[in-house]
Symmetry: C2
Amino acid sequence: MALIKKPVTGMRDILPAEMALRQYCLSVIRETYGRFGFTEIETPVAESLENLNSKQGGDNEKLIFRVLKRGEKLDLGSAKTADDVSDMGLRYDLTVPLVRYYAAHANELASPFKALQTGSVFRADRPQKGRYRQFTQCDIDIFGEKSTLAEIELILATTAAIGKLSFKDFRIRISDRRLLKAMASYCGFPEDKQDSVFITLDKLDKIGAEGVRKELAENGFAEESIEKCLALFTAGDEGGEDADAQIAALERFCLQIGAEETEEIRQDLCTIIRTVEGAKEADFRMVFDPTLVRGMGYYTGTIFEFSLPQFGSSCGGGGRYDKMVGLFTGQETPACGFSIGFERIVMILMEEGFRIPGEEEKSAWLIEKGMAPERMREILREAKEARDACQTVLVCGMNKNKKFQKEQLTSQGYTSFREFFRE
Amino acid sequence: MALIKKPVTGMRDILPAEMALRQYCLSVIRETYGRFGFTEIETPVAESLENLNSKQGGDNEKLIFRVLKRGEKLDLGSAKTADDVSDMGLRYDLTVPLVRYYAAHANELASPFKALQTGSVFRADRPQKGRYRQFTQCDIDIFGEKSTLAEIELILATTAAIGKLSFKDFRIRISDRRLLKAMASYCGFPEDKQDSVFITLDKLDKIGAEGVRKELAENGFAEESIEKCLALFTAGDEGGEDADAQIAALERFCLQIGAEETEEIRQDLCTIIRTVEGAKEADFRMVFDPTLVRGMGYYTGTIFEFSLPQFGSSCGGGGRYDKMVGLFTGQETPACGFSIGFERIVMILMEEGFRIPGEEEKSAWLIEKGMAPERMREILREAKEARDACQTVLVCGMNKNKKFQKEQLTSQGYTSFREFFRE
């Protein structure tokens, strides 16, 4: 019986060229975040179903891969639901596991705690092009920092890393969940239905103002509220792209929905935009965008998203989620995170034919079959010396079709060849 | 409802200090293997159950975490066995996935193909101290190299990496599955029961000659065979530890069980031992050990294992498995691999208080709460310049208990502090 060559549905194998690029990106990200004092941690790929299904994951909770119970604990005869036969699930993001980790180990961790996590996450999505059921996420988070220093450091560190990966002229869109809520109240949307308004609003760049108007009306919201809301957003589009223009737009927006109620939020956003613009390393702009929503329900304050000119939609994002640690510990702890859309970054670099900088010389040494052991020892000793001198030396048997073998090796980046024949 | 702080049973969180060491080890391993021309690849953590249960995994096949079917495919009402409700499993090693990968992509890969894989594997073992259900493996494999060059390069590369991690005076024990079989035939053990003999023999260093004698007798083997076998192994213990003594022991062993039948094996082992001793970088010895068995059933030729003086049992091993690719492709392809016992290596280094060499200066800047945004911008601009100059700069809020905060930071490797106060 022949075995199955394909990876399981929706997951994929990574070939050497992409893998080298991924490792390069990860090393740049690790090094950059390290300079900012983020320390790397790791959590298991599996988590308890109670934590995964705690309403922190939004729609991702519908996409959990569950792990079957084992041994005596698996009783198929009496099982009625998936809960009866499974005892853990594969994580759908790195945030829920990180918060659990922080709750479990806070006493052993620095305060504030700056965490870096890279790892695989899993979602049982319908397989489609460019979207896989296992993919890498790359998150930084800060626990225990109440002030905007958290947002500022997250944005500075992430944009520095992205900048070092050759990206430029990108944008960090920023807003605040509290501002969204103030806006919804100002427009007169009923408080218990605001989430539905935000979901529609999130689609503004896809379906346009007309689309938003239609969807809000279909969902039964008052025409007056809808018009008030849309007027706010179409006004926000004006002005230039520099920090001053962004601050002006922010101030205009806050004035309209109520200067007093939004004063603290305005000050925070203002500090973040000005400080990031003043201390940034990479070539990008901060953009105030009151239509920014971010899917996850757990955000409590600032939210941000980053987008590249080459790629329409978001390539990462994050925000403040000050309530989640409390779900584990009973005690609220300020928390704020930024996640890089690692798979998209890698995809764009692959498509652009990005070349990994500073690769060392790679030399391939082809050995004729049946080389005497004494001679082989000399060749390998010589290879050792070249490797000690930081060269890559591939020692391999000479194939019958030497020309093809060399072509193959050239395509893998080997630039020099040596051939060794039997005496 | 409070959520669960603990990781799932048998899995664990990795704290910053260990994580830094793990990443350091991985970077040394990657760099060393890279110099030898190994290219890194990745496969999904899940594999089809057909492949995982193909009898290549030995006892590990009993320890598979299965993933529950989803949606309409999950029919608990009619389910009788685990097979009915699960459609994939978490991999228990990296070898089965690698061979599947090679079978699927051979046309896109170099020939010979030298692969490096590091990744998590999963075994539903009973939880016990120091043994976890998710752990990291770190394997190199060579496909398409029939000659002993494969074994030699695997051993040279692995020992070079281990040596760079500060280990010395370790041992690579080597033997050959074919030699074990020739030995069993010479002793008169029935061919269909040789595997059982090998399992007992594998315990020689644990239960001693008397234990082996007893277990073989209990399993019904003839006394004459048992005595013949034990005579072989007690004789092998003599002689020194240098390459000459090892070659002499090998020759003595082969002469006893039949010079003609073992001629090719003897030559191969001789070439490997002499060449490795002649071209090695690290401080270790090659030891011929005819009692070496290695658990997995898939080995077809050379087998080897490496052990450290600090740690009694094996810290990694591998061998030749020329038949496994054929199970996927119908066409046999030479294959040989070496797996580092990554978790053991890390554990030993942790216990020894290993210090990561060449860490850059780490500076912590403590900022008094309520710093004016303009001043904050200046501080962060200065931090940017220090980071550009390869320094690690942690910028964080000043805690009320500053003394404790600094102690904490010192224990995390911060060596210099700056304090910034409001004007």
